[in-house]
């Protein structure tokens, strides 16, 4: 099994090699994100090192003040006191200013990384071919770009900050401690053993429990979103009470998992304080005995005690780092997997321009298969002359949509070539391809924004007049005018106000305004009422007169305007002729047509 790209993403049982492969992949990604920021990262590091050093100076200066400046002052020399106070003020101001600076610097770095990563994933997702999107569900790809990026943000925002600052803090304190009083330094050093043991225990346990909170929260979220998006059905079928029980159960599991994590902290946190306090008492004992014999100055003892008190403060946050690191690492692994996916439909390296296409579509020895034993379209040749309107008929799964997707280059053929005006689609400039060929599908998706925005998606620089003209041509103008703000009405994503039929009209207008030479309609009139369909078809007849059109429809009414009908079955074209020829024959189409006529009035 391969772990290239997103395959094997759901597995938990990676071999050593696979794990290494994945880890290297995410490290490469991380490296490529950081390298453009190298200078800024180095500056940030310098600032944090200097600021931490300045912050740690305090207790040593107090020790100096008590042990040296105090006796000096008694002897009438105030200079040491002035010096030590000035040093304290300078280190204090410098430390605080630089920490503030560091906060902004590190936010800049992490935001730059996030921005870069967000854009990369977004762009790559858009580049990936439809084949990928069809197998990798929309929920997963959205999770990559939201919750996974959140995990990384959390690590960058707080995790790394805490680790770097905390580690530096402890190192500097240890250095200061040893230089102040090596015995106390040894006590501190000895306390590292239980500290390490405690931290390791915490890491192992929390890893387990954190994973549990993540899985329980994921379940909770899925159920919640499903309820909200399906609220009409929930209400209509009185599912509220049953949902409440189910959701309540999920909430409880999530609560329990959370409680376990908190309980872990409930042990870790006091244990940390205990270790710190025991160390403090030990330093006091060993220091006190030496002070009483005059081997140690009082100021030095105080300094050691103050350091001991501060030494353990960052330990808890540092222990948490491991968790945010782990979820971020897992997120990065998945994201790097998506980024590793190669689009199966790639843009040409040396594109051929085709400014003005006439619209001849040709299939030359084309075969399409997902893999060798799942051939969808067996090898075939087909020519659709410029200007012809072709209807494709056949049962679900006959391969009509696949054929259409080959023309619009959502897929590339496994063998042979599809060409427009003799130019292989794979070599055609993507801009020219999209301008020449447009496909309208049954699911008429509307983006948030107003009606005009949605129509002008077909031609971003369209004027309002052009937009209105397109809407009029497909018969959408009247309902749009009746909306609260006409063309400026916000189309709510949930489509409370815009019915399925109206959505479809809008997506027609969108295609109309794009003005392609080849237009593919894949079940694009299924939700229209008959007058709208009639209007659309009347519009189509003029619209399609000078362009190539491929119309896929279950409903035979659509076929009426076609010059030619292709009947498909099991991926093959079994009948090909004008509608009149086929109806008068005895083939599949004649049968379908007869059955359909019966279903009418």
């Amino acid at each position: 099994m391969s772990v290239m790209g997103t395959s094997g993403e759901e597995r938990n049982d990676y071999t050593k090699d696979e794990s290494r492969q994945i880890r290297q992949r995410s490290l490469r990604l991380l490296g490529s994100l950081i390298s453009p920021l190298r200078a800024r990262v180095i500056l940030t590091m310098v600032v944090v090192v200097v600021s931490t050093a300045a912050q740690v100076a305090g207790p040593a200066l107090i020790a100096f003040g008590i042990d040296r400046a105090l006796p000096a002052l008694i002897n009438g020399n105030s200079l040491p006191l002035v010096l030590v106070v000035a040093a304290y003020l300078i280190t204090g101001v410098a430390g605080a200013t630089m920490i503030a600076w560091y906060t902004v610097l590190s936010a800049r770095v992490s935001q730059a990384i996030l921005f870069d990563l967000r854009k990369r994933v977004f762009l790559h997702t858009q580049r990936l071919s439809l084949e990928f999107h069809e197998s990798y569900t929309s929920g997963r790809i959205i999770a990559r770009q939201t919750s996974d990026l959140d995990a990384i943000r959390e690590l960058l925002d707080s995790g790394i900050n805490q680790l770097v600052q905390g580690a530096l803090y402890m190192v500097f304190i240890a250095i200061a401690m040893f230089s102040l009083d090596w015995v106390s330094g040894l006590v501190l050093f000895a306390s590292l053993a239980p500290l390490a043991f405690l931290t390791r225990w915490f890491q192992l346990r929390s890893q387990l429990h954190f994973r549990e909170t993540r899985t329980t929260s994921a379940k909770l979220i899925v159920h919640f979103v499903e309820t909200m998006t399906g609220i009409r059905a929930v209400k209509a079928f009185r599912k509220e009470e049953r949902n409440r029980e189910h959701f309540g159960g999920l909430v409880e599991k999530y609560r329990d998992a959370n409680a376990r994590v908190i309980r872990l902290f409930g042990i870790f946190d006091p244990a940390l304080v205990l270790i710190g306090n025991v160390a403090l008492a030990m330093i006091l004992l060993l220091g006190g005995l030496r002070v009483s014999t005059g081997d140690l100055a009082i100021g030095a003892l105080l300094g050691a005690l103050l350091y001991a008190r501060q030494f353990f403060a960052p330990a808890q946050e540092m222990a948490m780092f491991y968790n945010s690191y782990q979820s971020a690492a897992a997120a990065l692994e998945k994201i790097s997997g998506v980024l590793e996916e190669e689009p199966s439909v790639v843009d040409p390296t040396t594109p051929i321009d085709l400014r003005k296409a006439s619209g001849t579509v040709k299939f030359d020895g084309v075969e399409f298969a997902y893999n060798s034993d799942k051939v969808i379209l067996p090898k075939f040749d087909l020519e659709l002359p410029a200007g012809q309107t072709v209807a494709m008929v056949g049962t679900t799964g006959a391969g009509k949509s696949t054929l259409a997707k080959l023309i619009s280059r959502f897929y590339d053929p496994s063998q042979g070539t599809v060409s427009l005006d003799g130019v292989d689609l794979r070599k055609l400039h993507p801009k020219d391809l999209r301008r020449a060929i447009v496909m309208v599908t049954q699911e008429a998706y509307l983006f948030s924004g107003n009606v005009a925005d949605n129509i002008s998606l077909g031609k971003p620089d369209a004027t309002r007049e052009e937009i209105v003209a397109a809407a009029k041509a497909v018969g959408a103008h009247e309902f749009i005018e009746a909306l609260p703000n006409g063309y400026d009405t916000d189309v709510n994503k949930r489509g409370g106000r815009v019915s399925a039929g109206q959505r479809q009209l809008l997506s027609f207008a969108r295609a109309f305004i794009a003005d392609p030479v080849v237009l593919i309609l894949d079940e694009a009139t299924a939700s229209l009422d008959i007058p709208s369909e009639r209007l659309v078809q009347a519009g189509l007849q003029t619209l399609l007169s000078d362009r190539t059109a491929i119309i896929i429809a279950h409903r035979l009414s659509t076929v009426a305007i076609a010059d030619r009908v292709l009947v498909m079955e099991h991926g093959r074209v079994i009948e090909d002729g004008t509608p009149q020829e086929l109806i008068s024959g005895s083939g599949k189409f004649a049968q379908l047509h007869a059955a359909w006529k019966d279903s009418l009035v």
Partner: protein
Amino acid sequence: MSQQSAKPERPKAVGTFTAISRLYPYVKSAMPYIYLGMLAALAAGIVALLIPQVLRSLVDGPLQSGDSSQIWPAFLIVLGLGIVEAIMIALRRFFVLTPGTHVEARMRNTLYMTLQHLPVSFHDRWPSGQLLSRAVSDLNLIRRWFSFGLVLLVVNVLTIIVGLIFLVNISWVLGIIFIASSIPLWIYGYVFEKRYSIVARRSQDQTGDLATAVEESVHGIRVLKAFGRGKHALTGFSVRAENLRGTEIEKARAIAGIWLWLLLVPDVTFALGLLGGVWLVVQGQISAGDLVAFFATATVLRFPVESIGFLLSMTFDARTAADRFFEVMDSDNPITDPENPQTITESKGLLEFTNVHFRYPDSPANVPDLINGIDLRIEPGETMALVGLTGSGKSTITALTTRLYDVTEGAITIDGVDIRNLTLVELRRHLAMAFEDATLFSSSVRENVLMGRPDSTEEELREALEIAQADFVYDLPSGLDTLVGEEGLSLSGGQRQRLALARAVAAQPAVLVLDDPLSALDVDTEALVEAALRRVLSATTGLIVAHRPSTVMLADRVALLENGKVTAVGEHSHLLATSSHYRYVISSLEEEEQEVRS
């Protein structure tokens, strides 16, 4: 953007305290534990403050005199106090842990129930992402604030006060230095409140906007690809991501500001304390032990003083989260159960519309009602088809019958009882509905179909599936137990529609409302479903939205809708003969074409 319209006007400017105190009913039962937790935390704080006092007497006593025998008791006291502090911290966590998670769980369940009961018009306005962030991250934040932020905020303030008393007790000069230099901190904390809460809210909103952009780019991928508009989408996304980045850096600046003061103030205090302290010792005003105790106490107070900053920012975050929570909880729910519900003991299924009007609350005044005075009577057992142009109000009428929206004037009755006088549960038991866009939930096929009547027999289930021509379910990997929906197998549009139809049929209602239930089916399947449906409808009152002549044939009578009014009612053939608008709406293109061609 849709989010903007989704967000109601900002809550009026109220203090953070007032905003948060609205949470009280949810946390009430947990309060005793919170108080206990505070007590334990306070005890821990005071114990920590006692250690410097021990040092003070140690320095002034045995260490001065060189009496090393006295050092051991001092060591034992410090050790003992240290152990007590750890125990108290453990106790604080023990007290607040479980109650805090229960508060969160309770709020989450309440929010979920409220959302389920809020009318469809609410859900039309609010994208599910906005609701989700309230149900998950906002409540999480509130819990953390409640069991951690609140407790420490109260206790740390108290600890600081107690610490100040100790400091003044050591030397009033040093105490005043400590208090005076803390003042800028409190002033800055107030400034910080305003600045941070605005940015925090904006960041949350922009994160939501960005997520919406992502969702749209994924769900609309086919459109974007078909028109080659990937660049266009990327630009929109980049702008939002850039906005968020700007906000996050602004947030970091605000945090940097508070950090600056939080670190600067103690350092200046210590420096001044050192200056004043040494001078006081030389003057003989205080002892060396007093000076040691001052620094040790001030060090103990460092964390409480520093923590005020992030505890404040946490409090403002929690306030924002509480505002967002109540934005939903405060939404009006006009569609509720009546106070004195009536019941229908034996439903016959007489569905009647009397002068029914409906308009969306936000439609402009000059626009006529969407449903503009409908009178319609559907006899028990009769099936009525609703025919009309797109946008004539057909789907709206079906939604009104099951109270997804309420009529704005007039009434709908079942068996003579106004549907607003029935409980929602009862109404929806008498009346089942199949929607054009069929929603399946993450559970088995069986549960999805039996949603309206979970106690049905196997036989009834099989029959419903048969009527909807949904026998493909037997070929699914685990048959009827196959998991479908978001977490399960994805089915095609036609398959989902058939399951939704089976669901409505299996509910065995007195009134069956079908909103264009066959639109995604191919011709052959459609014919089979219609034949089977005709059997069901012969015994049930039916209301069917129809776009096609074939669907109309299921009905006994047809109501023609035009601009929100019923302009003709009658049998199909009658309407064909008498109504030109009906002919225009329903007669097929093909027919005309045929006439032209033949």
